[in-house]
Symmetry: C2
Subunit: 332 residues, 2 copies
């Protein structure tokens, strides 16, 4: 049998075999739910808890797949709170007829990505829906992390904080767009999909005074910057020339009429640090592969509270707004 059948989600013998031979096999660890309704885990007193469902289309793309994305996405949400990712859940909704070989590729990809943060999948769920009731596969991952650095929050940005971006923007959105438009084979744009924990761990280990961190996923850098401006009632002043955009990404954006600032990233984050620690933060980040191109892109001021100002290379300025309307659907 090479395709997922409804019986794989029925709760009987076939479900039981799929769980043993696929999920337990690849996600094996000392805690993984062994036939109970919930996993029992030990944690510190203060934990971070997050959830994300992944519906990306196509499910395989340059630089990753839905499995890698599902792990990196939740690992990153925890990391952004200064929390070390510990335990993850994995909930699969699979369309009847989905290739079991593809499922295994995805599951192996998840297992590999887990190694980068050391997080473990400790519980899971599998649902199979009839053909046509879902498009291929959706994955939900929820995660628990131990907060190593308390107080990191988008509500605590300070005037004078320096804004650092961990790398160039827009690659995930552009990679997905290329695949959709059938340009995936010819294109050289890879999604930035990656676990950011190693970069965050470096900042925490070096005791950098982090005010806030946020990965620039749906809505891109524009969304993060605007959410921060609104939450802390401050002004984010960004220097456009300092924001790195890959030439091919820029080309794709111009071709399709998108702004790379609105494009989703899946392994790029914005950090606000005390100005006294900015240089050290940059040095830490640049030693870690996932953030080796980190750069200062702006600062927190009181110029126009609740707004984001983008300064161009030519000395002109404009407000950068929250993206509106239909961005790319099913980007993550």
């Amino acid at each position: 049998m090479s395709q997922i059948q409804l019986s794989h989600g029925g709760g009987g013998e076939e479900t039981s075999r799929l769980i043993r031979e696929m999920f337990y096999l690849h996600f094996a660890n000392d805690i993984l739910l062994a036939g109970e309704d919930a996993a029992v885990v030990s944690v510190a007193k203060k934990i971070a808890f997050t959830t994300d469902s992944f519906t990306v289309s196509p499910i395989f793309f340059k630089g990753g797949d839905i499995g890698k994305l599902a792990i990196a996405g939740t690992v990153n949400d925890l990391s952004m709170m200064g929390a070390k990712p510990l335990y993850l859940s994995a909930g699969f909704i699979i369309e009847e007829g989905f290739e079991i070989g593809q499922l295994e590729t995805i599951v192996i990809s998840m297992a590999q990505e887990l190694k980068l943060s050391g997080a473990k999948i400790v519980c899971g769920d599998t649902k199979v829906v009839p053909k046509g009731s879902a498009d291929q596969i959706f994955i939900n991952t929820s995660g628990i992390g131990e907060i190593l650095k308390p107080g990191i929050s988008a509500n605590r940005l300070h005037e004078g904080d320096i804004l650092i971006l961990s790398g160039d923007i827009g690659r995930h959105g552009a990679a997905i767009l290329m695949e959709r438009e059938g340009l995936g084979v010819s294109g050289n744009i890879q999604s930035d999909c990656a676990s950011l924990w190693p970069a965050v761990e470096a900042l925490i280990d070096n005791d950098i005074a982090i005010s806030a961190m946020r990965d620039a996923t749906r809505g891109g850098l524009s969304a993060v910057a605007n959410e921060w401006a609104r939450q802390s009632t401050v002004c984010l002043e960004l220097e456009e020339p300092a924001i790195a955009i890959n030439e091919s990404v820029q080309g794709i954006c111009e071709l399709f009429g998108f702004d790379a600032l609105d494009f989703a990233n899946e392994g790029t984050f914005l950090i606000a640090v005390a100005s006294s620690d900015a240089q050290r933060a940059l040095e830490c980040l640049r030693k870690v592969d996932v953030s080796k191109n980190a750069a200062v892109i702006g600062r927190i001021t009181r110029k126009k509270e609740g707004k984001v100002i983008l300064h161009s290379a030519h000395g002109s300025s404009r407000y950068l707004d929250l993206p509106k309307g239909e961005l790319l659907p099913r980007i993550c």
Copy 2:
């Protein structure tokens, strides 16, 4: 705008508004994720962690809806581990064009069901997929609970333990089947969908010596009994006449050729207790509405390890096997 648009899942202004005006409004509590990537919560050292995705069809049925089910299901998974449900996540995958009014009905239903256990939704995620890429709405809930009674496990059943069933079986499966066959209006079968925490809390408060608990969801009582027999390498001997089945449920099963023992329940659980505590356990359970019809249905023996034996009213016996093949799809 009365329907969900792709932009509601885009991560921009519309997403932000939906989250504020729908989810924050109805799920309001002192911890609910306020614009961060993860919620920060305080917990005990030992916690239970579980996840479940809900794809039930139809999404509204007699006795509940997908929202009530999504809360009760995860609350029950935690409860079965002797864990008090504390924090839940809610991940929505919504089909473009879904009625916002229906979403609100579901969200309100979730909020009401939360009150029965006192659990709080502290983080969430919303994805919108294009029309035809999902069927209406899928909900994932993951949950964290504080373990009040450690050591409850399907691996720890003892010879001599008494098996108690909290109520009659098969109502959820039968209710869904009735709806699908267009008999929902005429039928008098209500899903048993309910939060079991009040029943479990009563057992824990009275310090009942619980060996294991499990709600009989997908695969029904047959699946739970067989999983327990296999995990603890014991024999479960069940008395068929003691297992309550509503007359209408029995009728539906005969009509469609199903066995009520294989039918899903969403508010009925099996409990194994030390024989010395069986009577007290029954008394506790019968005082709680959700388990007022609790009854002893069998015991743990060594007669045939790894197997379930069903004794009929006429003195004959048969093995009860794990359900096989296509049960009802999208039952939960």
